[in-house]
Amino acid sequence: MIKFIIRRLLIAIPTILLTITIIFFGLRILPGDPAVAMLGPEASPEAVEALREQMGLNEPLIQQYLAFLMDIVQGDFGDSLISGQSVSTQLFTNFPNTLLLAFTSIFFGCLIGIPLGIVSARKRDTVPDSSIRIVALLGISVPPFLFGIFMILIFSLMFPIFPSMGTGEGFWGQLYHLLLPSITLGLILSAALIRFTRSSMLDEINREYIRTARAKGVPEKLVIYKHVLRNSLIPVVTMIGLYITSLLSGAVLIETIFTRPGLGTLAIDAITNRDFPVLQGCLVLFTLVVQIVNLLVDISYSFIDPKIRPS
């Protein structure tokens, strides 16, 4: 197992390097001069030139690239062009918010989605199944921002139960502020999870070894939980993994609607302000997050499926 993890980590290194390279050169190809962006269109050519010199923009590209790599290895992403704050600090203050939102919404998503998926599969083609499927289809079809606005309308304005914005103070305050956005995201996620769990379980439920389990005298409940559910989890786990990566790289819409600081809002602001160092920092962090989550998903596969388990 440890060998497998180490091998996976070694494979991750070239992937990360390649992505960082693409990020670096991609941003350099973009039109627009960061020095001009920083000083504004009115700045004199001399000032721009001086700043370019100071930022190292006049060095050969390859030298800039090597310097960039060295900085990253040391955890230094430079300073924001707008606020002057170090990028690492900005990432560190915003990332926990996103992390918290991502995991709580995955939690709510699984809590709602997987059990409903099971019910839907077990009661196939009955009224409960059809109702669950209609709701799930609705959940997938409604755009997240619209759904977020509805949730705010209902739970913050009509019935002021939850705050509509901000992150709150202290543990309970943070939790309180977290609830509405994470339930919103969780509901959206659960719609997809219901459909995945259902189809994946129906795939397994007719397999011959399920019949074997029944023939052994295993009670129906245990047949469902020990045989069907566990074996149908692989596609579900894959999907949860994909969702985690997309949520961690910024649940942009939900963060914007609930005005929560987070990676998504940070990246969007950086793009509008041509704040290259911040954008670079965000992108590198996304890359790392995707790699780590993929590794975790791969490891969890090997717990679920002995065929994938490295010997």
Partner: protein
């Protein structure tokens, strides 16, 4: 095999039916039914091997699966160990399943790919709380050796075993609960011929050792001839003939049985007692819409007028040998050859 127990009935099946409704339209109105099993009756004595043969789709597997409610029968009565089994009562059929294990056709797909062999064999013991952890472990160890595997196989997963080994695991699993009856649903048809004979010998050894009763479902007549005490021949959801192995194989009465037997490849095709091949025309009719009268009459080479009108009753040729054919009822000679 266990001759002294021959009069002891273990399983009695009376008029077992399984009809699959065919639904159509938005409201799912029933427009008919596929009669997979249509009024099957037989008895199985303790310690014998009772085979059910027939071509694909004749309902032999469905019959087997109905016996312990893996497929819920539409109607019919089943008596197991002199007790009627109610399939609406969960407790009832769970109890029956304990004593009536099944070995499935395809060893590749009938073992849970994500469970170790240890877990597969021990699961019935754990579920039914048959002893402490160490007792169960000992039992699993002895079971795996009983079927000719080694204890190191217990830590393997199904995909790490060959087809024959998997079927041995299937047998060990079926034996775990010391069942009275084992339903073998084509247990060797997915295996190589060389492995088939090994597994069949294992079946015989185990039967002698534990006085097991087998219901052996197969389409392979040479296998059936090798292993059975009594044989039932099914056609389109009904048993058309049943009798002892000798009666069925040496003196088949029903034209369908005769045709079926004539299709078995013979080891020495040029020998004198070679049977003439009877080639049936057409395909078996749909069980949704079986022909009037005797279901076999459209393909029967010796049909008479009565065959088109009414389904023949089961007639006793002698004590154990029964045939559903008008020609037998009317004492006409049925020789298709």
């Amino acid at each position: 095999m266990a001759q002294n127990d021959m009069n002891n009935t273990l399983l009695k099946v009376k008029d077992l039916k399984k009809h699959y409704p065919i639904k159509k339209g938005i409201l799912g109105g029933e427009i008919g039914a596929i009669k997979a099993v249509d009024g099957v009756s037989f008895e199985v004595k303790r310690g014998e091997t009772f085979s059910i043969v027939g071509e694909s789709g004749c309902g032999k597997t469905t019959t087997g699966m109905c016996l312990n409610n893996l497929i819920e029968p539409t109607s019919g009565e089943i008596y197991f160990n002199d007790k009627q089994v109610s399939f609406r009562q969960k407790k009832d059929f769970q109890e029956v399943r304990k004593n009536m294990q099944v070995i499935f056709q395809d060893p590749y797909s009938s073992l849970n790919p994500k469970h170790s062999i240890q877990r597969i064999i021990s699961e019935p013991l754990v579920i039914n709380k048959m002893g402490t952890k160490s007792e169960i472990e000992d039992r699993v160890q002895s079971l795996i050796r009983l079927v000719g595997l080694d204890s190191y196989h217990l830590n393997r997963y199904p995909h790490e075993l060959s087809g024959g080994q998997k079927q041995r695991v299937g047998i060990a699993r079926a034996l775990a609960l010391n069942p009275d009856l084992i339903i073998c649903d084509e247990p060797v048809s997915a295996l190589d011929v060389s492995i088939q004979s090994q597994i069949l010998n294992l079946f015989e050894e185990l039967q002698e050792k534990f006085n097991l009763t087998y219901i052996f479902i197969s389409h392979d007549l040479s296998v059936v001839e090798h292993i059975s005490d009594r044989v039932a021949v099914m056609y389109l959801g009904k048993i058309v003939e049943q009798g002892t192995r000798e009666e069925i194989f040496n003196d088949p009465k029903h034209p369908y049985t005769q045709a079926l037997l004539s299709s078995v490849p013979v080891a020495k095709p040029k020998s004198k007692n070679n049977r003439t091949r009877i080639v049936l025309e057409g395909d078996p009719p749909s069980p949704q819409n079986p022909p009037s009268g005797c279901h076999f009459h459209e393909r029967c080479p010796v049909k008479i007028e009565a065959c088109k009108k009414a389904y023949p009753d089961m007639r006793e040729v002698n004590n154990l040998h029964k045939v559903a054919c008008h020609l037998v009822s009317e004492n006409l000679s049925i020789t298709t050859q």
